[in-house]
């Protein structure tokens, strides 16, 4: 088990830190959980990062058949690239096109494709994002430095039930010569949620 450390900001660590440690100790003592089970669970989350999402996107950009699979059966596509998407929830990937830009939110809690991407960012879980993304998606995206081009529809997906969503962003222009690994390097976590788009080769800052 890792050692406890206090927050570097100088403020007291949350009282809940001791409570979860207490809960862990008691559950282990009573045999409700075992150490390997807890460790496996820690490892499970650590193994999942936005790089997985970037890999799915990059493969979809270069392989039209894979793209079709990704859009029709997200879990099957993830398994094909060696990922292990969690069982209960569905995993649906929605595609950005020249006509449509997608934005993902969970207003009720923080549903996110953790089995693929790992932990969501703090902002995704924030009250401000959960409250405003459904009502003023364009203003929220502007705060992230992104404005959809004229004529593009914005579609917001509120993950209210058993589906976890991820965005398949559009491939940036001028990337024809890049290989899959280089392409994956352009795909940011924020672009998988839809508050922004992938890095492009010729970056222009917003207004």
């Amino acid at each position: 088990m890792s050692n406890h450390t206090h927050e570097e900001t100088g403020s007291m660590t949350s009282p809940y830190a001791a409570r979860i440690r207490a809960i862990e100790a008691l559950l282990l003592e009573k045999g409700v959980l075992t150490e390997p089970e807890v460790q496996d669970s820690i490892s499970y989350m650590e193994a999942r990062t936005p790089a997985n999402g970037a890999k799915l996107v990059a493969r979809a950009w270069v392989d039209p058949d894979f793209k079709e699979l990704l859009l029709s059966d997200g879990k099957a596509a993830a398994k094909e690239l060696g990922m292990d998407p969690e069982h209960p929830a569905e995993f649906i990937v929605v595609e950005n096109t020249p006509e449509v830009h997608n934005l993902i939110v969970c207003t009720l809690c923080s549903c996110y494709p953790r089995a693929i991407l790992g932990r969501p960012p703090d902002w995704y879980k924030s009250f401000a994002y959960r409250s405003r993304a459904v009502r003023e998606p364009r203003a929220v995206m502007r705060e992230f430095g992104f404005e959809p081009p004229e004529g593009v529809e914005v579609l917001v997906h509120d993950s209210t039930a058993d589906v976890r969503y991820m965005v398949l962003p559009m491939r940036p222009p001028g990337t024809e010569g890049m290989d899959e690994e280089e392409l994956a390097g352009l795909v940011t976590r924020d672009s998988l949620v839809g508050v922004n788009v992938p890095r492009s080769l010729s970056r222009t800052s917003l207004g």
Partner: protein, 96 residues
Amino acid sequence: MTFGPGDRVRVLAAEKPGHVRTPAYLKGKAGWVESVIGTFPNPEELAYGLSGLPERPLYKVGFRQTDLWKDYRGPAEDCLYADIYEHWLESERGTK
């Protein structure tokens, strides 16, 4: 499976105690069934340790943002989708 893609539906404006996954901002709002997602155990019952069976149909329901918010700032084409259980939906007849 009562509804199919394209069907016009309205979210029930019901107040239900306990755990529900139908957000308040959609209650009473009209939209369309975008797709049938599948059937799943009822989360309202799973939340209390019950089996949630029989499974309930779940739909991806689309709404025009301008139908949801009086002050929506954006084009009329902007939409919002939420995944709503069948027992929270009723058929909506009449014109758009």
